[in-house]
């Protein structure tokens, strides 16, 4: 909201400069986003254009002869399209400074002398308007300094928190200033000069839904003339960021700005049956608002109706059928208090927010403010648009609202603010805000809050009022007594710290990505997981919570590849989400994901480079698990790994718990993200990494006796995995120290559906040198077990 400093000064004595005022307002809770100073430069005067001639050397320029208050007319070269004889305009005379680098000099423009420059509003920093030369009112005196008519001013752009609807007006801000500076707000209302007659003879008001409309005031002004507003009013409205329309509309806007009270002016002749009825719409009722749009209403929407039809959507916007037009003679003024929730509902549903609805939603003054607003409006209309005010005003107020009473204990002020503020001081601070002491018992005091302060409900609310006026900067900071408390960091967050370190040492970059994804992405990556769907998504791209981190990391890789950042390696610690139905909270898991792409070791002139592959991914996972204290990692059947992996994939288990999965991303998945290079990805469950038994190392003596090494070649069915063979071999004897596959062969000689796996084996006894006989005996058992359990034969 825009607050002109000059207007504010009319309402309350302020003797500080705008920047200081801004800081003071901020300290009590009114944030000032910006201050725009308007300062008409010295040397700019009012000039009257007497005649216009063509420039001899330039088509677009003209030579204006102006009366600048001197004895002789001056000649000014001008390029603006809107100059005409008789017009008054600002003239920057020679020597005036229009900006830091702009001093007006006596100049020859295309060979013609110019004694200054006619200015637009923007050139004078009055507004952003640069469409032509600024036009001044006809009653200004040529030769006078423009400063006389445009004194230095500043416009403060303020931001009001949603609880302080009462500050959405000049009066509201003035009240805050008065409280801050210990002044009183000057009276700004006007008493209407009524002529004869009684409004009750002209119109009746009936409130059907008094819950949504607790109070409705009306006045009638007859015989007005619709015209432009006087300059002072237009300027004020413009300074606050509104557009002048005509005197009646401008006056209602002026009242809105001054009192924060939205008003509506109806053309009285278009109100059928001389009656106003405030009631709800019917479902599906159509109504054309004054912006020409047809609105589809429902039974929640409150309407202002006449005897035949709706004439306005209450508190939101008037109707096209009854608004003020150039021919309006009699004006019916509406000034009401609508229930904030009712207006918010309609405004939200119609997606129609107006200056009026914005204020009604936050709560206006249902008491004195309402009366001051309508009386002042009527009187201004009488003065500025002529006409006569019919005697009396309608005041439909079925259930008068009573001010809230709140108990405040001074001990609580001390307890919450941490500073001792005397009883008298509390009473005077609150009194400055219109919060009156009305009684009290024992130590407690009872206060009554003004009706316009909808935010004051409980004791703490009053303590806040005391605190902000006393000044939070005046409360000395205290150092709380140090206490010994056990510092508990969740195990998963300790593991996360370890993961970060390990990954960073491996040269991986940590990413943080959005946790939301699109239905399309989710269905592509995890077609079988039921997602958590957002009720009110920001966009379809963020309509669901992610079920895997794969999509986010693929996007990051793609983003970097598009920027020619190659050889990407990232990790992210984040949550995945899966729905467990509406009755239960979703399944949220803390996971770590790793993605690698391109070269893991970049090629150089001495080194061919090492592209990423499955073994690099495995070594990263092993390293992570080891540092997190999780037991040896085992890679299992890829069958249960996520669908986005291709053939080369595996589940990851620490101990007996499946911790995650890893592998090469399917090419078509990569292509969906516009990635053409191979991508390897792993995702591990952090809780499972922690849940795995911690491997507390126990020293085993270094071997003192030599080992015996043997190789085997088993012919097995195609689907048998080498890990199964190795596990089987290791289980045969405690003396098997190490076993690992080293070759796979498939060929016609073996027959269809068979393959041969070659394994190397190391046997060692801790207490003696093994004899060949002992080794042969173990090998015999291995061959026998493999044959019996898996039908494997030795390849000859």
């Amino acid at each position: 909201m825009k607050i002109p400093y000059s207007w504010l000064k009319e309402l309350v004595d302020i003797d500080v400069a705008p920047d200081r005022l801004a800081a003071d307002l901020a300290s009590i809770g009114i944030e000032v986003a910006s201050i725009a100073e308007t300062k008409v430069p010295e040397g700019v005067i009012v000039a009257k254009i007497l005649g216009i001639g063509k420039h001899p050397n330039a088509d677009r320029l003209s030579i204006c002869e102006v009366d600048a208050g001197g004895l002789q007319p001056e000649k000014i070269v001008c390029g603006a399209p809107n100059v005409r004889p008789g017009m008054l305009a600002p003239l920057a005379t020679v020597g005036s400074r229009l900006g830091p680098d702009m001093v007006v000099e006596k100049a020859k423009i295309r060979g013609v002398d110019s004694a200054g420059m006619l200015c637009s509003e923007r050139e004078l920093s009055i507004s952003d308007n640069h469409s032509g030369i600024m036009e001044l009112p006809a009653d200004y005196t040529p030769g006078t300094a423009l400063k006389k008519y445009f004194p230095d001013d500043a416009v403060l752009e303020i931001e009001i928190t949603p609880n302080r609807g009462d500050c959405l007006s000049m009066l509201g801000v003035a009240r805050e200033c008065a409280a801050k500076y210990g002044r009183t707000v000057k009276s700004c209302g006007r008493t209407p000069l009524e002529s004869c007659g009684s409004i009750n003879d002209y119109i009746s008001v009936e409130i059907v839904n008094s819950g949504a409309c607790p109070r409705y005031l009306g006045r009638l002004v007859r015989g007005v003339t619709i015209a432009d507003s006087p300059e002072w009013l237009k300027r004020r409205i413009r300074a606050c960021g509104l557009r002048p329309i005509n005197n009646i509309v401008d006056i209602t806007n002026y009242i809105l700005l001054l009192f924060g009270q939205p008003m509506h002016a109806f053309d009285y002749s278009r109100i059928a049956g001389r009656s106003i009825i405030v009631k709800n719409a019917a479902d599906g009722q159509l109504f054309i608002t004054l912006d020409g749009m047809e609105r589809n209403l429902c039974r929640d929407d409150l309407l202002i109706c006449d005897a035949e039809k709706a004439v306005a959507i209450a508190g939101v916007m008037g109707g096209a059928n009854s608004h003020i037009s150039a021919t309006t003679r009699d004006v019916f003024l509406e000034c009401a208090y609508f229930e904030p929730a009712a207006i918010r509902r309609t405004s939200k549903r119609l997606d129609l927010s107006t200056d009026a609805s914005y204020r009604f939603e936050r709560g206006v003054d249902p008491a004195d403010g309402l009366i001051a607003a309508i009386d002042t409006a009527a009187e201004l209309i009488r003065r500025l648009a002529g006409g006569e005010i019919i005697g009396g005003r309608i005041d439909a107020y079925p259930k008068p609202l009573t001010p809230r009473r709140i108990i405040l204990r001074p001990s609580q002020v001390q307890r919450l603010l941490g500073v001792d503020i005397s009883r008298d001081r509390i009473v005077s601070l609150l009194g400055a805000l219109g919060i009156r002491l009305i009684g009290g018992q024992g130590g407690a005091m009872e206060f009554e809050a003004p009706l316009y302060r909808h935010d004051l409900v409980i004791e703490a609310d009053l303590i806040e009022e005391v605190g902000r006026l006393y000044g939070y900067d005046n409360i000395p900071p205290s150092v709380t007594a140090p206490v010994t408390m056990t510092r508990t960091i969740g195990t998963s967050s300790a593991t996360a710290d370890t993961i970060r370190k390990v990954c960073a040492f491996q040269g991986l970059h940590e990413t943080v990505t959005g946790s939301m994804t699109s239905e399309k992405r989710r269905a592509l990556l995890t077609p079988d997981i039921k997602p958590v769907v957002l009720l009110n998504p920001l966009s379809p791209d963020m309509a669901q919570m992610r079920t895997t981190l794969a999509g986010s990391l693929l996007e990051v890789v793609a983003y970097n590849l598009n920027r020619k950042n190659t050889n990407n390696r990232f990790f992210e610690i984040g949550k995945t989400f899966a729905s467990r139905g509406l009755q239960e909270l979703p399944d949220e898991r803390d996971v770590v994901a790793i993605i690698i792409e391109g070269f893991f070791e970049a090629p150089s002139w001495q080194h061919p480079g090492k592209p990423v592959d499955f073994y690099i991914l495995k070594s990263l996972i092993n390293s992570l698990a080891r540092h997190c204290g999780a037991g040896p990692v085992r890679y299992g059947d890829c069958g249960s790994a996520a669908a986005f992996f291709g053939q080369e994939s595996a589940t990851v288990a620490c101990g007996t718990t499946i911790t995650g999965e890893c592998g090469k991303m399917r090419e078509d998945i990569c292509a969906a993200f516009d990635i053409a290079t191979p991508v390897y990805y792993a995702q591990l469950d952090i809780t499972a990494l922690v849940a795995a038994p911690p491997s507390q190392p126990v020293y085993s003596p270094l071997p003192r006796y030599p080992a015996v090494e043997r190789d085997f070649c088993f012919v097995v069915p195609e689907q048998m995995r080498s890990a199964v063979i190795c596990d089987e071999i290791a289980a045969v004897s405690d003396l098997v120290e190490w076993v690992e596959p080293f070759d796979v062969y498939r060929g016609e000689k073996l027959g269809p559906g068979l393959k041969s796996i070659a394994c190397a084996l190391r046997l060692r006894a801790p207490d003696r040198t093994l004899t060949d006989t002992e080794a042969d005996e173990i090998c015999g058992r291995i061959i026998e077990t493999m044959r019996r359990k898996h039908g494997a034969t030795l390849r000859r």
Partner: protein, 216 residues
């Protein structure tokens, strides 16, 4: 069910019981503003922190904790705002905890994090879950308060929102509001990082361009 349909369902259910929003507020101990927001399908106003309530329900005072995490809001994405950010919340509940303690804590933070000589300024503000509510500014560490482009020539940088825990929040957490008081604060990690490292676009944090990540 979309947001508006859900809202309508909730309202009709309430109206069928002939309860006003105020009645519902009393029975459910959920702020009227929030109930209303649900009924209107207007989720923009819902910003209370469920983590704090959970801590209060699990643990008896004294409570002193820090809660970092991702938070989401319905916001247009621009250089200055993103629909997601990392929030660090703090909660301190004990007997006789006051605004003076909050100030001391924030001052200690500013002096450790920005500079030993850092000063802070407290402004009145509004948050639904604290009363009184404040915002804290730290003296600009770039210009030392003299005014520069980082602090937009004000000499101060806004760093966080805070306040004394609202009695209703205490009650919702099962804590006796006559015995205990507390303060809470919340700050955006990205925002503080932006100030500290003079990053001018919050989206950089979430785009994950390697050339950005490499700088830290």
């Amino acid at each position: 069910m979309d947001a508006l349909a859900l809202g309508r369902y909730l309202r009709e259910a309430r109206e069928a019981k002939e309860l006003t929003l105020e009645d519902a507020e009393r029975t459910l101990r959920i702020r009227r503003r929030v109930l209303e927001a649900f009924e209107l399908g207007d989720f923009n106003v819902i910003d209370a922190s469920p983590v704090q309530i959970r801590v209060m329900k699990k643990q008896k005072p004294p409570i002193r904790c820090i809660m970092p995490g991702k938070v989401y809001r319905h916001e247009e994405i621009s250089a200055r705002s993103y629909c997601m950010f990392t929030q660090v919340e703090g909660l301190f509940i004990d007997e006789n905890v006051s605004m003076a303690d909050l100030k001391g804590t924030l001052l200690a933070f500013a002096q450790r994090f920005f500079s030993e000589k850092a000063r802070i300024k407290i402004r009145s503000s509004f948050f639904p879950f604290t009363e009184p509510s404040i915002e804290a500014d730290v003296e600009c560490f770039v210009c030392g308060g003299a005014g520069c482009s980082v602090c937009k020539h004000s000499g101060w940088l806004e760093i966080l929102g805070a306040g004394m825990v609202h009695p209703r929040v205490l009650a919702a957490g099962g804590i006796d509001k006559e015995k205990y008081t507390g303060f809470a604060f919340g700050m955006g990690v990205e925002r503080i990082a932006m100030l500290k490292y003079r990053i001018d676009d919050i989206r950089l944090f979430f785009e994950n361009d390697v050339r950005f990540l490499q700088q830290f």
